[in-house]
Subunit: 234 residues, 2 copies
Amino acid sequence: MNKEYKNIKVIGFDADDTLWVNETYYREAEDEFTKLLSAYETPNKTNQELFKKEMEDLHLYGYGVKSFVLSMIETAIEVSNNSISSKAIQDIINIGKKMINKPVEMLEGAEEVLKSLFPKYRLIMATKGDLLDQERKLKKSVLAKYFHHIEVLSDKKEANYLQMLNHLDIDPSEFLMIGNSLKSDVLPLINIKARAIHVPYHTTWKHEQVNDEETNGKIYKTIANLTEVLNLLE
Amino acid sequence: MNKEYKNIKVIGFDADDTLWVNETYYREAEDEFTKLLSAYETPNKTNQELFKKEMEDLHLYGYGVKSFVLSMIETAIEVSNNSISSKAIQDIINIGKKMINKPVEMLEGAEEVLKSLFPKYRLIMATKGDLLDQERKLKKSVLAKYFHHIEVLSDKKEANYLQMLNHLDIDPSEFLMIGNSLKSDVLPLINIKARAIHVPYHTTWKHEQVNDEETNGKIYKTIANLTEVLNLLE
């Protein structure tokens, strides 16, 4: 085992795009959405307007598919100058329902890694987003049995992690977080003196992107593939 | 103290319509919604269709304002035979945003009861609904300081309560739940051998209503006012 992880007793896993596919489904939904609005705007412009609307709505709606659908509907009304048909609004609602009903597609190595670490560490899942969405995905994934605890957070900032660790009686120095988002799964952990391993996913939502300044001087490992975690921890 | 509560160590409080006003805001929203559709249908019919849609969508969307807004939009499209304007859709979205931005109006006695019980019991808040909605209301309410733990559940069935009690290491015989919904805050608790006190609110969502058969033979107390809890427990 890599000696920098010798104090670790609890490992937190992000789920979306760390254990299972998520962002890909949002990209596909955006493609369908921009097509619906192609009579009014270019896909690029529509996507820009949608992102603006999502950021505007974030403090009200939080993360998840329902929030995404509500932001799409408002964007459609604005981009079309109030001329979008109710048929198209129904299509947008159906895009959301289709997302909710997607099967859960596990990422390579997810179950293998959890199974190997399970006897040696306390494993927790720490996701943000919609409570019901995440419970549903966990149930479909059959990964639930590896976790001592599931925490759905309304956001993944330092305060959210501190509250979770405090509530679970975990010292930050004993906690390692693994996830695909530098902004949500890595940087806040380093700032509260926990550890973090970054496993990039091929596509990252713009809201989760960080610039070099934010990562400068922060100590974390980046691995190409989830299974590399086992080399570091075993 | 009433001797039937002598084993109680942990008290769970429902929040919506037990500690603060909630259902009233949904009724007001439904009034605005049915007015928007008054060119197409009577308020009574529109409300019936909305309730049907909410029940249809419940397994997909869960509880909370965002789910309610999505169900209103679909109902509007159907009731209007696809002729609802995008202006009216925007109005529906605005009804939801207004609900989210409502101040939290505490029910009589809520803080007094929590303050009195706080030194003698472990108090937890157990609500269902949207994670961010509930966190936001708790923050606005300044009641957070009385609770050892906040649990937002995706539903309030027996299995959800058992999982929560197990996770918090609470024996059902030591747990008392207090809330306004027979269906969500009382009956499931009795079925898992915990205790429950019912504090009715003046209006109950149809989905939370139960019939006499379901309450027959179930042992729980009903009180008219939250502060009566203190007579029973002190």
